[in-house]
Symmetry: C3
Subunit: 310 residues, 3 copies
């Protein structure tokens, strides 16, 4: 990809996603431009669309965008289409909405452990995957729910009611699919207008307010980062109590299928989402593999987006 320019536009703090995209671009010999909001014209009041158009005019072939507002990468992509450019827009995480490259690297990490014959339509058929933690605020959860159920897995969400609210079941139902909750099956919800969540036929998704039914016989456990700010917002009594009720520990892991593996998008609060020693145990933890997969998957994404050009 020599001569192609990848603009990394991270409007939010990030170590791994930013570095991962930057390294992916460098490994493909693309030129990178790093956008640092603190030293940029955003402090002068320029709109985000105008910033994107500036990078377009400079010759950026791809923009990797993270922003705290849901929909920003989408809005930039629409503007780029309207201007009839063929610049590639990659969503590197937008608010609480989506984090698609994370879901793809998680899927790649999981499926690279599995043994099956190609072609196979449903890569994760017969697999049970538990996603545990702060579901409602997590773009990682949203993107994974989409990719994992679409790949045929049975996905079980678990967390305290404040972080896995009944409304979230309805939000998912809004796409027209059956969702069961361990506290009563909801009828098919009315189809609601929502962002850009496509409908997946026959998806199997379950909600729990205890962690144990989610972990039972699970093949993979995905823990999510618990943001400490949630406590201030009175959504949690304490980190200690959260760990006692929902933290992944060696004891709780006995409920899972033998050979269960643990994922975490990072950065980890050790001793909160997961016990510190379990995080470091290579028998269970896939956390390092996720980071390694991240560079490979992002190289693939950049390459695919760039290959339309010459």
């Amino acid at each position: 990809m020599q001569g192609q320019v990848v603009a990394n536009m991270f409007f939010e703090p990030s170590t791994r996603t930013r570095s991962s995209f930057e390294l992916a671009a460098k490994r493909l010999s693309a030129d990178t431009l790093n956008f640092a909001p603190g030293t940029s014209s955003l402090t002068k009041g320029e709109t985000i669309l105008d910033t994107a158009k500036t990078y377009l005019a400079m010759g950026a072939d791809m923009m990797v965008i993270r922003h705290r507002e849901a929909g920003v990468p989408h809005a930039i992509a629409q503007e780029m289409d309207r201007l009839e450019t063929n610049v590639g827009i990659l969503n590197a995480g937008d608010g609480q909405h989506e984090h698609p490259s994370q879901a793809l690297l998680d899927l790649f990490t999981i499926t690279s452990l599995l043994d099956f014959e190609y072609p196979r339509l449903k890569l994760l058929a017969d697999k049970k995957i538990a996603i545990v933690g702060d579901i409602v605020h997590s773009r990682v959860a949203r993107s994974n729910i989409w990719s994992l159920t679409a790949s045929g897995a049975e996905v079980h969400l678990a967390g305290p009611p404040t972080l896995v609210p009944q409304e979230f079941a309805e939000y998912v139902q809004g796409t027209g699919e059956l969702v069961e909750t361990s506290h009563g099956t909801s009828g098919a919800g009315e189809k609601k207008e929502n962002f850009s969540q496509p409908s997946i036929p026959n998806r199997r998704l379950f909600l729990h307010w205890e962690v144990e039914p989610a972990l039972k016989d699970a093949d993979f456990v995905m823990t999510l980062r618990l943001q400490k700010e949630r406590m201030t917002a009175h959504l949690l009594p304490s980190l200690r109590e959260y760990h006692q009720r929902y933290g992944i520990t060696r004891d709780r892991l006995k409920l899972c299928h033998p050979g269960v593996k643990i994922l975490h998008p990072g950065p980890v609060n050790r001793g909160v989402e997961i016990s510190s020693e379990l995080m470091d145990d290579p028998e269970f933890s896939l956390i390092s593999q996720q980071v390694t997969s991240g560079v490979a998957v992002r190289m693939a994404l950049l390459y695919l987006m760039g290959s339309g050009k010459s």
Copy 2:
């Protein structure tokens, strides 16, 4: 320019100029070093000249310098001469003084639209160019006044009296040239000591406190960024009133020559200097072309400065 080192030393926030120079350097295969004042030894009290000498000693072949104080790049260049180095110093904007690469890219953007035979001494003879807005605080205006009048254009400055003060006419007159104002022609001013503004013979420069006489039959309109801080300083009643009296709108554009084009150095305050829809209208707006020209012009500048070396 493989093996040559370009140090980007931006002591002030910048999206487009910094990225533009960085991309220009990368396109020429030069190595770049980015200087971020927030994480640098400046927080430890080092002088700017010593910082520059540090980059020199590391092997920087060129330094691209932006600073909030007028004259900083000049002072560094003098020091580099005194030390008998052949490092190249590029002024990327110094205080309210000069922004030469911006004026060159503006000139390149304008002349690339014109149709004439080479060689031609006065590229912009018979062209009228209006520069509208906060003239007195603008390094972009100062550099453009110099390059546009030197290229033979008739340049008309327009803005409220607080932003285009009578003193500014005298400052320009200080170089010994005739300046007319729509509120009375000044006699030839006394030659004053001033920074590094060379004298241009026969320059044609006019000042107005209303926008209409500047726009009348103009071939190009250059709008300048209005810094919102000016309002706090009581130089402006309100942004809304500024837009009503001086903002470039589709209506006001009718005063201009047919085929008039609009420039803006960015970042733009939409709806203040220029109406939002006009900014996006490719029939009139050259704003994207300016950004694109910026990379090309800066590549040329780096190449010319670097070609003295091997």
Copy 3:
């Protein structure tokens, strides 16, 4: 070193060391990743070891680490050994502990001026070197004391009692060697547990509370940066008084051996550690050569660490 990844992890402000390592890596054609703590996951509470493991998993071959806490690079190196990786860890300055690449570049700068036949065991035999200033808080001093005495030089430390305390003599004695102070020779101290300071046989190290005995017949004078925060902490009466008693001036230099040279790790407080005009005098000052040596020495370090890999 094409394809190798150097992660520059600077948790503390730095102009020269960070840029020096970055340029060294680029000159060797390695890919660099710059870690900026302000925009990173550290703001989300990730531990430093986990940040390092993230860069490891991304494929970093080397990590260049600066941190305000002594021992952080060592702790990361231990963790990397425990994980049986062969990633290289370079200490770019840890707290008040060590700054080994600075000591190596100082040694390289000094020895490149000397004329001797190879092989020679004690490069600096018969040389007297004065280190003047804030010894106790300086990682540069600690690393240089080690490398210079190991190279056979006679090293004289000088500074006010608050910055060269008696305890420092005991700390050095803790390694089992003879230390003389100009205010009475201490008996051989008890061997104490200390960080990672190896013992050097026959080292010749002297402490003084006045600058004159240290400068007398010195071949090299190394001045140290005086951090202005020391004054607030009541360790110094005033910068002015410090300069009067310990500042390196043209007059004081007459005490030294003819042909004496001055070093300073930078950034310099002009007129405090050293008079401004002396700093700029190429007859005496090696400050620019130190910066130039820095890039070469760091290239060598990266190359040596990287050559175990292919």
